[in-house]
Assembly symmetry: C2
Homo-oligomer: 411 residues x 2
């Protein structure tokens, strides 16, 4: 074993070796969307219907046939008969030539209508409505399918579901969704000095603190920790414990990874499978090792607690990427700097939150009109905040973008 330690692997090379190793992917499962946040999409999500799924008024006003309003002006208004109202949520009736129906933002457009005259350009007078301005066909209307067409892919396999995605899934008729199963990660602690959590140590013994620490870190990374208890520094017992742990998706052993007489874990892994590296050029964390047994990754972490947790955070993310097929490159909430592809306007005194798509250092503001609600929520990956004292940001300006979704690379 001394020989192996003589050649310590650089950290980046060790990560590359993990990424090149043959590791079995975990399968998928179905979860309710209320529980789906943070989970990885296992399949493309397609729209079950058009969005909007009916022609919808984008303004408070009057649904009309656009043709009826042509030529209308304040001095020469068109007068239409007011034949009713479509409230939000109501199923509309229909209108004919010369008629109008009162609508609100979000109301379904009556059959026969093809435009909405805004409230401010009309006046109700005794069962009729005076129209002061003409509208073109489909003006102030969000047309059926304008945002998303039935059958269109709205979220791609590999995306990590954010709260806004869950909203979009609900809008599209999903109550459940297929996601990657949470990898099960076994945690074995080895060391003759260790006693279980909650016990009082005699002289010479210490509490196994690495296992609860790792179980918490594993759970935080979206996996399911499986605590396998403490195993003595004895070849056969270690082999049995690792063998049992192979029923999970990945195995972590803490302790016994150095080059002393009690450091048997690398030999156990070598016998059962293959050691990929053992000994890394990092401090603390040098005795870290990694192997593969029957397609299952086995991470060997030092017993020294600081080294243990640092090496975990250094190498486990790549193991997780191999298990799930998705590598996280940036986390929601991270801030990046990018150049604006076009101006973001803002009123002075108002804090404006502009959705942008940031890619290769360029932030492109996304359409924020009512009709693009759903797609803008899944396409935007960042927010640019324009503070109250500014009238916006200029094209080409360097701005701070806060990511509103995890950025991923699908393997």
């Amino acid at each position: 074993m001394g020989k192996i330690f003589a050649e310590r692997t650089p950290v980046d090379e060790a990560i590359r070796q993990i990424s090149r190793s043959e590791i079995s992917r975990v399968g998928k499962e179905s979860v309710e969307i209320f529980q789906a946040c943070g989970r990885i999409l296992a399949e493309d999500v397609i729209a079950k219907w058009d969005v909007p799924h009916f022609d919808r008024s984008a303004m408070d006003g009057y649904a009309v046939r656009a043709e009826d309003t042509f030529g209308a002006s304040p001095t020469n208004p068109v007068i239409l008969r007011l034949v009713g109202e479509v409230d939000i949520g109501e199923k509309p009736c229909c209108i004919e030539r010369g008629k109008a129906v009162r609508v609100s933002t979000g109301s379904a457009l009556p059959e026969g209508a093809n435009a909405v005259v805004m409230l401010e350009y009309a006046k109700e007078i005794e069962g009729s409505v005076e129209i002061y301005r003409s509208v073109t066909p489909w003006e102030n209307v969000s047309k059926r399918g304008e945002d998303v067409r039935m059958g269109e892919v709205v979220l791609r396999k590999g995306e990590i579901l954010q709260p806004q995605d869950v909203g979009v899934l609900a809008s599209l008729g999903y109550s459940e969704v297929e996601v990657i199963r949470r990898p099960k990660v076994a945690v074995i602690a080895t060391g003759n000095e260790l006693i279980e959590v909650g016990m009082n140590p005699e002289v010479g013994r210490v509490v196994n603190s690495n296992s609860p620490m790792l179980c918490c870190a594993i759970r935080e990374m979206g996996c399911e920790p499986v605590y396998m208890g403490i195993v003595e520094d004895e070849f056969g017992k270690l082999r049995d414990a690792v063998s049992k742990a192979l029923s999970t998706d990945a195995v972590i052993v803490t302790g016994g990874t150095s080059v002393g007489k009690r450091d048997l874990v690398p030999e156990v892994v070598e016998e059962m499978g293959e050691i990929i590296f053992h000994g890394v050029s990092m401090k603390p964390g040098m005795p870290t090792g990694f192997g593969v047994i029957e397609g299952k990754p086995v991470l060997l972490l030092p017993g020294f607690p600081v080294a243990c947790i640092l090496a975990f955070y250094t190498f486990f993310p790549e193991i997780l990427a191999k298990l799930t097929g998705v590598r996280v490159v940036a986390k929601r909430g991270e801030k990046v700097r990018a150049r604006l592809s076009r101006r973001i306007p803002s009123q002075p005194g108002v804090r404006t939150f502009a959705r942008v798509v940031v890619r290769n250092g360029i932030a492109s503001p996304v359409r924020t009109s009512g009709s693009g609600i759903l797609t803008s929520m899944v396409k935007a990956n960042g927010i640019v905040v324009v503070p109250e004292e500014k009238e916006g940001f200029e094209e080409g300006e360097l701005v701070e973008v806060t990511l509103i979704r995890d950025l991923v690379e699908v393997l």
Copy 2:
């Protein structure tokens, strides 16, 4: 209501108004440490015993009486009788004058011994050991209580438990810990156009997508969402729903917060308690409102989904701070820049992870010797990574610090 909207509250002032409002704190509960990560400590954690709780060898070598080694040198070695070995985890015997015992790093020191001679300065010869270098009393020994004294406060009330804290809790004999209960947050959706998740909408209706979105966001923030369903835009029904929701710790209503005839939620809250603000200078999100009923915070979010989620992330963190008594000022994983209070050395070719305490723009490296393991884990709040090509960072150098714990402000 139009009057209220005429005076829109600036975002920062609205947050201040939340922070000044009278909101009931949630209580505490006991959780197993394996499940404690991310939870807020409800009480100071004190050490149940000294750490280390026995005099411990800090090196592989020979436990001796320091006095016996005085004057030893390579040319004039001291010869001690080797009377045994203390393995890691074993209860040690004792030694007398002129004797030595083989020990490993982490072994308990035999009674009578007060120092450890490192392996490289000694040689075993036929039942004896030649010592080539003198040691001073307690050299290469981590003394009992050197890191932490029994009864000392190790983690303070209000800290958010990180994986490393869980390790420390285990080391100190805790298997459970008192934490702030997860706040229960009720989610009510209002709007006559809404139908439940999973149903197929008729013309005019849309799926209630804000509720699953908010429930996910609430859960991600460490709270327990309680979905209360869809309520019609009707004063009495809204009042009944809010009243029922007051059995939780906080209430969120989405929709019905604007100034139209169906926007009844602000009036309902005003009747049952007090509206603190309604109408905020933000875009989107302007119709956001906030009130308090019987000490329970009530957040009124716009029905427009983008505005809904943005306003949630803008105002809910301060509500959560009021409920728990702890305001998060920075999250683990965030990067900050700071000046080093002293040099961090590193070997070329090795990636060094140095623990630091960062405060007011100054990063102070913490003691990383074996004896300070436990305290260094809870005192450090950041890591500075020295890359392979550098021989360290100099005192006064500006470095990037990655936070390894959430930074909090206890209210």
